[in-house]
């Protein structure tokens, strides 16, 4: 799981252009959205949906599912490990 969490952090930094942020700066328990944590917004959420499908073969039909899955890196990694197809 630790390996997946680190990989996920690197992927998110790259795909969301989080300049000046390193994997170790991201608290895996902190919220991804909102003022706390990484402060991502709705376009970032859509980009994370693409990341899930492209890198892990998980297709989310309803963007609202993302609200639960993208709560934090830990929640996201847990969901990926249980549902990934690649």
């Amino acid at each position: 799981m630790e390996e997946l969490i680190l990989k996920l952090k690197k992927e998110i930094i790259e795909v969301l252009n989080l300049e000046d942020i390193k994997p170790e700066d991201i608290d895996a328990n902190a919220p991804l959205f909102g003022a706390e944590g990484l402060g991502l917004d709705s376009i970032d959420a859509l980009e994370l949906i693409v990341l899930m499908e492209k890198n892990y073969g998980i297709k989310l039909q309803d963007p609202n599912q993302g609200k639960e899955i993208f709560k934090s890196i830990n929640v996201m990694a847990d969901y990926i490990s249980k549902n990934r197809t690649k």
């Binding site: 795909v15 000046d20 709705s42 859509l46 980009e47």
Partner: protein
């Protein structure tokens, strides 16, 4: 006063305004269901595949020419006259050509020049590319250009054609409905795309349809999400000075997305117009993007002339938080004015008010302040890396900068540097360029190039509109007035200065050239213009910084 001389709608439902009006009255629609490469379904109003040919003129240009030809013939004007100005309203023009590696003809200014040449017009055309409000922005530009004496007649052509580029983009934003859309309905689940060309010709006169007033306001909230308070649309409606007793209806945007329709209901309620009948035409035509503002204005004029308020196809039960008066079915009216409302990506909103045979003179007077002799300006032409360095050295407190596309980064940094020299104000933003959003368009095209690796990027797609840079600047600075974007075939100081001076009639402007070309050449040459600055003052400064 500025009046309508003639019009045309060329859509899958008919080749003239009259054919389209009859089709709408008969409850027809050209919406059909199609499949995307990933197997997902979408519904759209498209021309038949066999008509979609690029020979000589592209399909997009053929539609523009067919629509404009009919309107010009009806107006009985000489389109080749020097006193006639062509204004093209489009978001993506020939963007489908990028898939074939053709970037020059994909440029909006190049395509507009081809259309203009067809009619023998000697003036460089102006392309208004202001996301989904382009059709109203273009009509506002036409109205003001005639009022300011820049031309006697303005031919406004609104057109967009659909392609995998656009459809996959909206699909990755999860904005498309697989079924016919249902504006304002409780079960609405997204929009349908559409394609059409529509032309409206304006000139000076005293009778007929009068373009009374127009307003554009930015939400300064988000580049793709509508304001939760309907701020920009509300401000537009306020600016029109509406007497609701005179209004037959409000012809709303009504895209059928969850957030747009909710936003519009809030804006209309806040403006005190909740009781006024309203309708959306998206359930018939889909969202025709650059054509929407023109097409929906023309049909609304037809409705008033025939004493009709259109029904909203697909609407059954109110699904927005405010008790607005959505017409489900066609009904009658004896009133002679209406408002057309639109909103779009980049946080932009626009509204116009039209009246039929009004006795009140609505000519707006133009006043220049000769005491404004000098204006602030800036010119930067960095490489991509130098631009990042400029940001880090001079700004550094806006991490969102790194999420922006090259054009937005350039406009953002240039504006930040310019504002350091200027007094604070609620500036309008009017930017021009040649390449539109080409750098980002090419980047997005890469994500849909390979069928086995087909992952259209939402973060890239939202920047495939040039006016997003104006939204980014508005958000950063909380500018909530006009934002507009025009594409020209080259940096022409005289045309830019004339349009900036007109915009500056309504408030101070941050304006000028902001371009990133296909080879990665960056150039921003901006001026900060106080209200009522004269064209000559602006042109003088632009000539200095554009060289």
């Amino acid at each position: 006063m500025v009046i309508k001389l003639a019009d045309n709608i060329y859509s899958p439902l008919g080749a003239t305004t009259w054919e389209n009006y009859q089709a709408v009255m008969a409850g027809k629609s050209a919406l059909h269901q199609y499949t995307l490469p990933d197997g997902s379904l979408y519904t759209a109003s498209l021309f038949p595949e066999e008509e979609r040919r690029d020979d000589g003129y592209t399909f997009f240009e053929q539609l523009c020419i067919a629509s404009a030809s009919d309107a010009i013939a009806r107006a009985g004007i000489d389109a080749a006259s020097q006193r006639v100005q062509f204004i093209l309203s489009t978001t993506k023009g020939n963007v489908h050509l990028l898939a074939k590696g053709e970037s020059e003809r994909a440029l909006l200014g190049t395509s507009a020049a081809v259309i203009c040449r067809h009619f023998g017009n000697p003036n460089p055309p102006i392309v208004v590319s202001n996301a989904c409000i382009s059709g109203l922005s273009a009509q506002i530009v036409a109205m003001r250009s005639i009022e300011a004496g820049l031309c006697d007649t303005a031919i406004v052509i609104g057109c967009d054609v659909q392609s995998e580029f656009i459809i996959s983009g909206f699909q990755c934003l999860h904005a498309l409905s697989p079924d016919p859309c249902r504006p304002f309905d409780k079960d609405r689940c997204g929009l349908n795309l559409g394609e059409a060309a529509a032309t409206i010709i304006y000139g000076k006169g005293k009778e007929g349809w009068v373009a009374e007033a127009g307003a554009m306001c930015n939400d300064a909230n988000h580049i793709s999400g509508p304001s939760r308070t309907g701020e920009g649309s509300y401000r537009c409606l306020q600016a029109l000075d509406i007497d609701k007793e005179q209004l037959a209806f409000v012809s709303v945007h009504g895209t059928s997305t969850l957030y747009n329709d909710e936003m519009e209901s809030i804006a209309i309620d806040r403006a005190g117009l909740a009781e006024v009948p309203m309708f959306s035409l998206k359930g018939i035509y889909g969202h025709t993007m650059g054509a929407a503002g023109v097409l929906e204005t023309i049909l609304s004029m037809q409705a008033v002339e025939h004493g009709i308020v259109f029904g909203t196809r697909g609407y059954h039960e109110l699904g927005v938080s405010r008790q607005v008066n959505i017409c489900a079915y066609h009904c009658s009216t004896n009133k002679h004015s209406f408002v057309k409302l639109l909103s779009g990506f980049g946080g932009c909103n626009a509204a116009m008010k039209f009246s039929y045979n009004t006795s009140i003179d609505h000519t707006n007077t133009i006043t220049y302040d000769p005491s404004i002799g000098t204006i602030s300006s800036i010119r930067i032409s960095p490489t991509a890396d130098e631009l990042v360095e400029l940001y880090r050295t001079n700004i550094g407190d806006y991490p969102k900068f790194f999420k922006m596309d090259p054009l937005s980064r350039l406009g953002f940094v240039a504006t930040e540097l310019l504002l350091k020299q200027c007094s604070k104000a609620d500036y309008g933003i009017l930017l021009f360029n040649r390449s539109s959003s080409l750098a980002d368009d090419i980047a997005f095209q890469v994500t849909i190039k390979d069928r086995s690796n087909w992952f259209p990027s939402p973060a890239l797609f939202v920047y495939t509109l040039p006016n997003i840079v104006t939204g980014e600047i508005a958000i950063r600075n909380h500018f909530q007035t006009e934002t507009n974007f025009m594409v020209l075939d080259a940096p022409r100081a005289n045309i830019m200065a004339a349009q900036i001076a007109i915009a500056a009639q309504y408030g101070p402007q941050i304006a000028g050239w902001c371009d990133v070309d296909a080879n990665g050449n960056y150039l921003a040459a901006l001026v900060a213009v106080p209200q009522h600055t004269a064209k000559e003052t602006i042109e003088q400064e632009l000539n200095k910084i554009l060289k």
